[in-house]
């Protein structure tokens, strides 16, 4: 893309009426450059709010981890680390395909864009499937607080049952919140894929794809932290 000064969007002369003909530019912006800057900046501010939204429950996690460390270690060993690792790989792959989708949108290649968007959606659904199976396992192991929390003795590993239940509360709250954001992301991308397939995403204005990409990468980053903090507390060598 050329340098900013010679940006390819037609520079609007000051006395030209504000709303130029192309439907791409919204009437309140001077030029396409300002619109893209505003959209991305707005998304980053929204991601800052999401950071603090997850931050609230991370704060609780950090506090209770320092207060009830044995319970957290025991609870963490109750989780299947291999399943967690698989989910991490799936989500990193989906981030890659999402980045490629944004790249395709930039280049204006409709087929590649739709292809990468659908592969991101498929990987997202795969992640949710893995997550759902893990929840089923936890149900069978009777580790779901509130419903049937009767852990077998050896799964407590000597830690008090209350602290393990507290850890499982955190496990379900944090991964549940993350899964909820995944579902919203998949819905977003599905709509985007359809709109892209109909060819409504022109080369000059692909910010919708870019913004969805930012959201998807953010949800991936949350999982990058969730995996070590929930599954690998104090290492898995015991």
């Amino acid at each position: 893309m050329s340098e900013r000064a010679a940006s390819d969007a037609l520079p609007l002369l000051p006395d030209q009426p504000a709303h130029s003909a192309s439907s791409v530019l919204h009437h309140q912006f001077e030029d396409i450059e300002q619109q893209r800057d505003a959209d991305n900046f707005g998304m980053w501010v929204f991601l800052a709010t999401e950071m603090l939204f997850f931050g609230g429950v991370f704060t609780g996690y950090i506090i209770y981890r320092t207060l009830y460390y044995p319970g957290f270690v025991a609870g963490s060993h109750g989780l299947e680390a291999n399943l967690g690792a698989a989910m991490t790989f799936v989500l990193l792959a989906s981030s890659f395909t999402m980045a490629m989708a944004v790249h395709a949108a930039r280049e204006g290649k409709r087929g590649m864009l739709v292809g990468f968007l659908t592969s991101t959606i498929i990987l997202g659904i795969a992640f949710l499937a893995l997550k759902f199976t893990e929840y089923i396992h936890k149900w069978h192991e009777q580790l779901v607080p509130g419903f049937n929390f009767h852990p077998a003795l050896e799964s407590l590993r000597g830690a008090p049952e209350r602290s393990v239940e507290l850890f499982m509360c955190f496990y379900f709250f944090m991964t549940g919140l993350h899964a909820l954001h995944m579902i919203i992301g998949i819905g977003l991308l599905a709509v985007l894929a359809i709109v892209a397939w109909q060819g409504k995403i022109p080369r000059e204005n692909y910010t919708r794809v870019e913004v969805s990409g930012l959201y998807w990468h953010f949800v991936d980053i949350i999982w990058i932290y969730l995996f070590p903090l929930l599954y690998l507390i104090g290492g898995r060598y015991q």
């Binding site: 893209r36 931050g55 990058i224 290492g235 898995r236 060598y237």
Partner: protein, 102 residues
């Protein structure tokens, strides 16, 4: 933002690095390093986050304002965590009767 963009090659390189780091995180967890397990796991997570943030989310190429917003987000998060943790940890310093259960 619309200026330089990472090439496909960069994306593939970053993706490979992420996969290696993910494998590393799980691998190292099975090695007994005492307290360092947590430190290393978090360090790897920070590196992965920076890779995704800088390249996949184009922070490396975007104007300063977006970076300031990210830093502000981290600063406020650190504020919430540190002050709350300060309360919980300093509860047992008081020399009088109200000692929090440990």
């Amino acid at each position: 933002m619309s200026e330089k963009q990472p090439s496909v090659g960069t994306y593939i390189l970053v993706f490979m690095a992420l996969l290696v780091l993910a494998a590393l995180t799980t691998g190292i967890a099975y090695v007994d390093l005492g307290p360092f397990n947590t430190v290393i796991a978090l360090a790897i997570a920070v590196v992965k986050m920076s890779l995704v943030g800088l390249f996949f989310m184009h922070l490396w190429y975007s104007p300063g304002l977006n970076r300031i917003v990210v830093l502000a987000g981290f600063f406020w998060l650190a504020l919430l965590v540190s002050f709350t943790l300060a309360d919980f940890l300093s509860r047992t310093w008081i020399t009088s009767f109200d000692l929090a259960p440990r």
